[in-house]
């Protein structure tokens, strides 16, 4: 198993940036990442290699500093696993409190079971 860890700036990937922010569903007091449009953009970022006979999964953790919380797919949901990977979102303050490792590891685990294409969600109450 190879683990490739990166920290990237969304501004360097204009297609992803446009998709994320143009489809962000803003509510009164929070926002939700659109899971119809964003996952495929994330799972096909240009630096992702897909070697033959190797299963490639991508776990992306979005970090926001908006005035409100940003959830993934549905209100109250931190992360969601898909067949080809998982996406999650945290605000910068939570990231600096918890660190990225627990969320990345947790969400990645949703992509690993076989059969792998079920979709799981994680709802956490963060205090």
């Amino acid at each position: 198993m190879i683990v490739d860890t990166r920290v990237v700036d969304i501004d360097d990937y204009s297609g992803l940036r446009n998709t994320v922010f143009s489809t962000l569903i803003e509510m009164d007091g929070y926002a939700v990442i659109d899971c119809d449009a964003v996952p495929s953009e994330v799972f096909n970022l240009p630096f992702i290699k897909r070697p033959q006979n190797v299963r490639t999964v991508v776990t992306a953790l979005f970090v926001f500093d908006l005035q409100y919380s940003v959830y993934t797919c549905s209100p109250g949901v931190v992360g969601v696993g898909f067949k080809d990977g998982a996406i999650a979102s945290l605000d910068i303050e939570t990231l600096l409190t918890e660190g990225p490792t627990p969320t990345l590891f947790h969400e990645t685990s949703h992509t690993l079971p076989a059969p792998s294409s079920r979709r799981f969600t994680t709802t956490l109450e963060r205090v």
Partner: protein, 331 residues
């Protein structure tokens, strides 16, 4: 005769002809096993009687059968639970007493007691306020906070011995020890983040489980989660860890059909636990594939690149170190 045995169909499905058996006997079928689903339902504390027939009927109204289906793959998982069979058990007094002693002995073992106390004080107020509203008088009921993982571990280790059940059974524990304790037990999980050393707590649950084939629900406490839809204008009453969505025994006070409602509440919990915890949980097995390329990407969408600034050195080896530390965190 051999063919009939091999192709033995589910009840109510017509037997195939011999010709059909010859040609279709080995074809893959969507449902391979049909069996009843047996669940132990254990009540710990209190003196009320539980009518097994009535509770079973209520559960079957919600869950007449259950064949887990993989929506995204478009097929069944091969099993159909044709009916739910409940084994209602009232925990013996010795178990109730030992459970209460365990709760009291392990009260409030927080990783950071000072910070935790600040947070749970707010929840204590919320719980007492909710009950005060129902009773129409101010109350100050003691609330015992206990690590949810410890409770699950205790029930997993001790339940089978007291109750003569198997650890591999599906078992749901309903806790109603307020009658004995005159205090409410509420659950939390907490940790010190392995990479930032900051204290994290998630508190105010009324139920927990799923690490083993058991789940427990305290019918005497009030879940203090937020309704995710309450943020909408005019919204509310969405599925969430709230008193509206997950009522307690307190909600049965001063209502005319309290007994009927008790069975509605308990059967609703059994339905949800079966559906969302037992099968979404236990069909989900973590497995690693050797030929796996795993990208872990942090995408900084902040306005000032503060995530990159703080986590620029986040590498695979750093991640591995933090995971290692988290396993070594005392529990």
């Amino acid at each position: 005769m051999l063919f009939a045995t091999i192709t033995a169909p589910a009840q109510s499905v017509p037997l195939p002809s011999q010709e059909e058996s010859l040609t279709k006997g080995w074809e893959p079928r969507e449902i391979l096993i049909e069996t009843p689903l047996k669940i132990n339902v254990v009540f710990i504390g209190g003196t009320y009687e539980v009518n097994e027939d009535l509770l079973t009927r209520k559960v079957r109204e919600r869950l007449p059968w259950y064949a887990p289906y993989m929506v995204e793959e478009g097929h069944y998982l091969g099993i159909n639970f044709t009916s739910v069979e409940l084994n209602i058990i009232r925990a013996p007094t010795a178990m109730v007493n030992d459970f209460i002693k365990f709760i009291e002995d392990n009260e409030g073992q927080f990783f950071n007691p000072a910070k935790a106390e600040q947070i749970i004080a707010k929840y204590n107020e919320q719980i007492n306020y909710y009950i005060s509203t129902i009773l129409n008088e101010p109350v100050n009921i003691p609330i015992i906070w206990i690590d949810a993982f410890l409770v699950e571990e205790w029930l997993y280790k001790n339940g089978p011995e007291y109750l003569n059940i198997s650890p591999s059974d599906y078992t749901i524990y309903f806790l109603t020890t307020f009658d004995e304790q005159r205090a409410i037990t509420a659950f939390y999980v907490d940790a010190i983040s392995p990479e930032t050393d900051e204290y994290i707590i998630s508190a105010g649950m009324n139920s927990f489980g799923g690490l083993n084939r058991l789940y427990f629900v305290n019918l005497d406490t009030i879940p203090v989660g937020q309704d995710p839809c309450a943020l909408f204008e005019g919204g509310g009453m969405c599925k969430g860890a709230t008193a509206d969505y997950y009522p307690s025994r307190w909600d049965l006070i001063n209502i005319p059909n309290a007994e009927e409602e008790f069975y509605n509440i308990v059967s609703s919990y059994i339905y949800e636990i079966t559906f969302f915890i037992f099968f979404r949980g236990y069909l989900y097995r973590l497995s690693f594939e050797i030929n796996l390329y795993s990208y872990l990407i942090i995408i900084d969408a902040t306005s000032d690149n503060s995530a990159i600034e703080q986590l620029g050195g986040f590498t695979s080896s750093r991640l591995a170190t933090h995971l290692q530390r988290s396993y070594h965190t005392p529990t």
